[in-house]
Every structure is written in C-alpha cells, then in structure tokens.
C-alpha cells in the first residue's frame, strides 16, 4: 500500500507541471505514445475511433493492440513480468483481485479526485463498486456491462408456435419447471419428429435439443444457471468480496437438480455430449433451439444467420421470487503499475470512461456502455441493426440484476467447486456434494 501511495503521490506531483503542458495542446509537446490492449476484435473499430478523437484532443498517441482472449491474458501477464506490457488494458473481474493482490495496477483515487470524475453517480448503478477493492481504492472506471438472456432460434420458436410475447412471459420454478421447461421440452424434437412434451418422445434419439448445456458453469454459472438460482432467491455470498459463501443453500441445490434433470429428460445434451464444438455453432447448425448467454455474444450470433437459424432474444424467466434475474458484469480498464506514463494513461482511462468515447462505442452496437445515456444510444443502434435487445435491457430497467461474484482466492474457490459442479452435471455426484464444497471454501478464509 505504501508503494502505491508513493506512486500516486509521485503521479500527482508529476501531474502538476504535466497538466500545464497538456492544457496547451499540440504546439511543441513531444507526443507520448501509450499502449492499450483489448481482446474483442469486434470492439476494435470503435476504440480505434475513440483513440483518434482522443489524440486530436490531447495530443497523446494511443497504440491499440488486440489479441484473442487466451493470448490476450498471456500477453498481459508477460507484460507484468517483462515490465514492458500495456500501459492501459481492458481488465476483467475474474482477474482483478489478483492484479490488486500482486500490486500490478494503479489505484485511481487521486486522479479521480483531482479531475472530479463523478465515478459513483455517472455510471449504471453498482458497476463502479465492482472495481473498488477491499483496500477501498478505486481501480477502474466502468466502461461497459453485460447481462444474460436466452438466445433462441426464431425459426424453431415460430415452428413451435411461440410468439415473441410468449417468450417474454416465461416462468420457472424448480419443481415443475414452469412454462420455461415446457418451452424447452416443446423445442426438443426427436428423430421421428416427436416433440419433448408430446407422447412417444424418445429421449435416446434426440435430433434437436431444446436447450444447450455450456459446461457446468463452475462456481459462478454466469450464463448457465445463475439467473435461475437468483430468481429463486439464492445469493452466492453476502456481497462483493464477502467470504460467507452459500453454496450449501437448498435453493441452489434444487436449481442445479432441476437443471440437471433436463439432461435426463433428453431436452439438454449430457455433460459428455456437449464437450466439443461451442454453443453458437450448435445453435447456427440447428442442433439446439435455445442457449442462455451474455450480451457480448449478440453481434456474433446474429451474424450466423442462415436458412436454419435466425436469432431471437428472450429475457430470462421469472422465478419463484416473482422476478427475473440476470448476472451483471462490468468491464473496466486498468492502468499497469509499471507504466512510464501514468498521467497520459489516466487521461486515456478518463476518456474511455467519458460520454465522448462511450457514445462512439454505443454507435458500434456491439456492447452496452456503462453511462446510462450511452446505454440507451446503444440499444437504439442495435435496434437499427435489427436486433431487439430489450431482453438484455429489461434487467437494467427493472433493476433485476445481481453483481458478478467478485472475491479473493477465486482460483482456489474454483478448484474446489468446479469439479463438484462438473461431477453433478455429469451424473457422478449428487447435489449434496455442494454442502461439503461450501465448507471447504469457507475454510479457505479462516
């Protein structure tokens, strides 16, 4: 912490003369170049536009590098080791706690205070708190968020007699499965053309699955089951960074049990059968009718349109609590602690977190920016592209979101809970194993 205060103090001290130089743009300031990293190639054009506008405004050059997910994190880590990594990089909550623990990123508090950034009010509620570590420092400005919805094959829904209105009114409970399970069953078709909810359905000869299983979801189940468990009233713990875990809750047990039953009934592929080609391709090939997933996949899946598949989005079902639910994840950019240009890096981060850039990103119709006005613009842009994203947006409007579970020791937690979840979904373990796993997890924090 002391080193941080020192760096922050130095940064501020350096900022004073520098801010004078920056305030007098263009002229004769030797232009610095900072490096920026991101992984989603779909977002690259938007950020390139932001960078060009930023350079015009401040004279600071931004060199953007994009690398696919796996390679991206490898290069981020390699950058920490070599000291020559990105100055600013798109970060993710899954790795954020480690970055803080290893002192690899700069806290932004002094910058925020000095430039009077309204971090707690200008973004969608809750997002900023995700990027505040237990040490009470703010490490990122929210830049976009995502929620979960059902990706449905419109052609199959239409053929099954489900209108958009029907899809928007699905209900679920862990005992009977509600109209959600009926929908899934109806979308399942066996080789003889018999639907899953009709007599004579042969679950050993399924031609089209109702819904896809995308792995077991491990401890989060972000796209797989979190929305169901939450709509049943389950919470993984008592808040961000909290260590009182509730994997032993009977609500989770009944949710997972129900979810697994879909495999037994033939509506969902078994754990072994879904290992391989991913869900977007299965959806596009007509092998499955529904897949629950996140808004970041919208553009890509929409582009897979062919004569067998057309994308339709449906909101997650209403659960026993009477409400829907969706996990709510927010991305932010972090500044590397090894950067040689903290001031310039902060300028870029501030710009990324400002309406100027987020409006540009909104126009690209790829993700939902974190500033509410920009979010609305993005929704409009996506509608203009022919994608109705109200299924994602409803959670913002109706405040039915719950935060991505952020915690310390996430990898160790995953080491404990993932095999248990995998085992349950593959049928080798029973949901009662969750209680034992929870005890082990709690023991990590004693």
């Amino acid at each position: 912490m002391k080193t941080f205060k020192k760096i922050a103090a130095l940064a501020v001290a350096a900022a004073l003369p520098l801010s004078v130089a920056v305030a007098a743009p263009a002229a004769h300031a030797a232009s610095t170049t900072i490096t920026y990293g991101l992984w989603d190639s779909n977002q690259l054009p938007g950020y390139q536009k932001c960078a060009t506008a930023f350079t015009k405004k401040t004279g600071i050059n931004v060199k953007i590098t994009q690398a696919g997910w796996d390679d991206y994190w490898k290069s981020v880590n390699a950058g920490f080791l070599s000291g020559k990594g990105y100055d600013v990089f798109t970060s993710h909550l899954a790795f954020f706690p480690d970055f803080v623990a290893n002192k690899q990123i700069l806290p932004l508090d002094s910058f925020i205070k000095k430039d009077k950034v309204a971090v707690n009010t200008m973004y969608q509620p809750g997002l900023a708190s995700l990027w505040k570590a237990p040490d009470k420092h703010q490490y990122g400005l929210p830049k976009d968020f995502d929620t979960i919805a059902l990706f449905v094959n419109k052609k199959m829904a239409d053929a099954g007699g489900y209108t958009a209105a029907d899809l928007a009114n699905l209900t679920w409970n862990p005992t009977t499965g509600g109209t959600y399970e009926k929908f899934i069953a109806h979308m399942t078709i066996d080789k003889n053309g018999v639907r899953g909810d009709e007599k004579g359905f042969d679950k050993t000869k399924v031609a089209t699955y109702g819904i896809w299983m995308e792995g077991s979801g491990g401890g989060d189940g972000q796209t797989q089951w979190s929305f169901l468990a939450a709509s049943d009233g389950w919470k993984v713990n008592d808040g961000p960074w909290n260590t009182n875990y509730h994997y032993d809750s009977p609500k989770l047990a009944e949710t997972i049990k129900w979810w697994h039953s879909l495999s037994d009934k033939g509506y969902m592929p078994t754990f072994a059968q879904q290992n391989g080609v991913g869900w977007p391709d299965q959806l596009a090939a007509g092998k499955v009718a529904i897949a629950s997933n996140g808004s970041w996949m919208t553009g890509y899946v929409n582009g897979l349109k062919n004569d067998k598949f057309e994308l339709e989005l449906a909101p997650t079902p209403v659960g026993p609590t009477g409400k829907r639910a969706s996990m709510y994840n927010g991305l932010a950019d972090n500044i590397s602690a090894a950067t040689k240009h903290p001031q310039e890096a902060w300028q870029w981060v501030k710009y990324l977190g400002s309406a100027a850039c987020q409006d540009v990103i909104a126009g690209q119709a790829v993700v939902f920016p974190a500033i509410p006005e920009a979010t609305a613009k993005a929704v409009k842009a996506m509608n203009a592209k022919g994608i109705d994203v109200s299924a994602f947006y409803t959670h913002i409007q109706n405040k039915t979101t719950f935060l991505f579970p952020i915690a310390n020791k996430k990898t160790q937690i995953n080491t404990i809970i993932s095999p248990v979840m995998d085992g349950i979904m593959s049928g080798t373990k029973d949901v009662s194993a969750l209680a034992a796993a929870n005890a082990q997890i709690k023991a990590l924090f004693k």
Partner: protein
C-alpha cells in the same frame, strides 16, 4: 548392446584390448566439442532447473518476486492433494494407451516402408500429420469427434448407428491419446525406419530362402535387431508422452471432471492460474524424478535383453 552403448562394432572392442592410449586422454579433446552444448544445457536448462528446484521449497509469487521458504510444505501438500493421485492415474492412462498404440502402429508403418514400398511419396504422406502444429491437430480432431456436429458422428448417425461420445469422462483420455497417435505415428515410424536401414540385407535373404513368412521374418529377424533403436525411441516417446499438454489445453482443458488433468496441465494451472510457482515447481520436480527413474529403468531393461541380439 544396450541403450548407452547401442552399437559396439567389433572394431571398437578389438581396439579396446591392445591400445595403450589412456582413456582419459580424450577428455580435453572432448571439451571443445561439448562446449556449446554444455553452455546451452547449463544456461537454459540447469540454471533455471536448479532455481526451480530451490523455489519448490518456497511460496513464490513470480510477479512480486517474493519467496517465503516453507521447507517441504509444498511436497507434503502435493502428496495429500486429491489431484495428485488423479494426475498420476490419468497421465499413466494416457501414456499406456498412447505409447502402446503408437509403438505398434509405427512399427507396422516402418515395416511397410521397409519391406513393402520404397515410395518417397508414402514416406511424405506418413510424415504429413507431424508437419501440422499440435494445436491445430487437436482443434481439427476435436471438431471431427464432436458429438453433434463432428463428421464421424454425423456419418454414424446417417448410417443409423449409435453416436459415440468421444469426450465423456471415460473416453476423453483415450480420445486424446488417439489424436496424438495420429500425429506422431509417422514421425516415430521414420525414426524406427532409420534404424532398420542398419539391418544387413543378407539376413533377410537367408530368411527368405528358408521360406519364412513376413510375420516370422518380422518377429525373428527385424524385431530383435531393432531393439537398440526401439529402446531409444521408447525413451524419447515415453518421456514426451508424460508431458502431454498442448492437445489437452486446447480441447478438454483438464476436464471433464479432471479426467484429462495430467501433470503438465496441473503444473501450468498452478503456475499461471493460481500464481503458485513454488507448488508448480514441486510437482515439476516430482515429474522429473519420476521420468528420470523410468528412463533409467528402460535403459536397464533394454540392456538385459542383449542375449537376443547375438545370433
């Protein structure tokens, strides 16, 4: 003949007796020959290796550079870890299936190349899989073997057979093993083929005159004379096999439910995912010791079969 002294021609043993030249004399001649290799070994293998061994006795955070020495804690933890037994078993499963099938397949291919056809095209075809990178091979096969969209199952389905799950808990490791057999059997066959070139033609002539069948020739002539080459090939392939990583990292990633969680996968996860380089080092040290013991045992066993070779 044994692995460390595979082909001692008569000349060498003849010379051994009458020469008065001191054996040690060659040492100083050998030094410049070995120097670059020793430098490479020392700098890029021994130095980091020893550093890693030392760190296995600590909790080491590679990013902060901090190391707290904990004695044998990492090793004790490893032996008590449920993943240890799991890794050991699944790695052994992989090695046995992979090496078993691959050795037989490559022997067969080598015999085909040696006795049946001299075509360079066939040799090229056989080596083609090795030219494609490990990662791409894994991705292509992962797709071909997919339950729903893979070509293999689609054909089975079209022919009204039952589809086969190639990546269930029970079948994942054998599937991975077969993917690697596909990639390496040609390469291994060429190594064995190289060794077959050393077998004199008159031995085959004699066997043929005696009216021996191909199988008999293989069993009684080729195989015994191949023993030193086979020994070499086996040390290389077994050692490599135990370290299987790329194929799994790109497909099953250790799943389903730890069914493909081999030593290397586990080590990589501890080193990068958990940022626990000390623990990862301890597991690596175990693996190295295990492999060295196996390599040593292999060479001993192979030399025990010397008697077959002199006919």
């Amino acid at each position: 003949m044994n692995l460390l002294h595979p082909i001692e021609s008569e000349e060498m043993s003849d010379l051994a007796v009458p020469k008065r030249k001191k054996r040690k004399g060659d040492f100083w001649i050998a030094v410049p020959f070995m120097l670059p290799a020793l430098l490479g070994l020392g700098v890029f293998v021994l130095a980091p290796g020893i550093r890693g061994i030392i760190l296995s006795f600590a909790n080491y955070n590679v990013f902060t550079g901090q190391a707290d020495f904990t004695g044998f804690a990492n090793y004790i933890r490893m032996f008590q870890d449920v993943r240890f037994l799991n890794s050991f078993l699944v790695t052994m499963e992989y090695v046995l299936i992979n090496i078993g099938i691959q050795t037989i397949a490559s022997l067969f291919i080598a015999v085909l190349l040696h006795r049946f056809t001299k075509s360079h095209v066939i040799k090229g075809v056989v080596l083609l899989p090795y030219l494609i990178s490990n990662v791409i091979v894994a991705m292509v096969w992962y797709w071909l073997m997919d339950y729903n969209l893979g070509f293999i199952n689609s054909i089975l389905d079209a022919l009204s057979f039952h589809k086969f799950t190639f990546f269930s808990e029970q079948t994942a490791m054998p599937s991975i093993a077969l993917i690697n057999v596909w990639r390496h059997m040609g390469y291994t066959a060429l190594l064995i083929f190289a060794g077959m070139q050393a077998i004199p033609k008159d031995v085959y002539e004699a066997a043929s005159i005696d009216g021996a069948s191909e199988w008999r020739i293989f069993r009684s002539v080729t195989l015994p004379l191949l023993r030193p080459v086979l020994a070499f090939v086996l040390v290389i392939t077994v050692t490599g096999s135990f370290q299987i990583f790329d194929t799994i990292a790109v497909t099953t990633k250790g799943g389903p439910v730890m069914a493909t969680d081999t030593f290397s996968i586990w080590i990589a996860r501890e080193a990068w995912g958990n940022n626990d380089f000390g623990y990862a080092s301890a597991i690596s040290v175990f693996l190295m010791v295990l492999l060295s013991v196996i390599a040593f045992a292999q060479t001993k066993i192979m030399s025990a079969n010397q008697s077959d070779l002199d006919r």
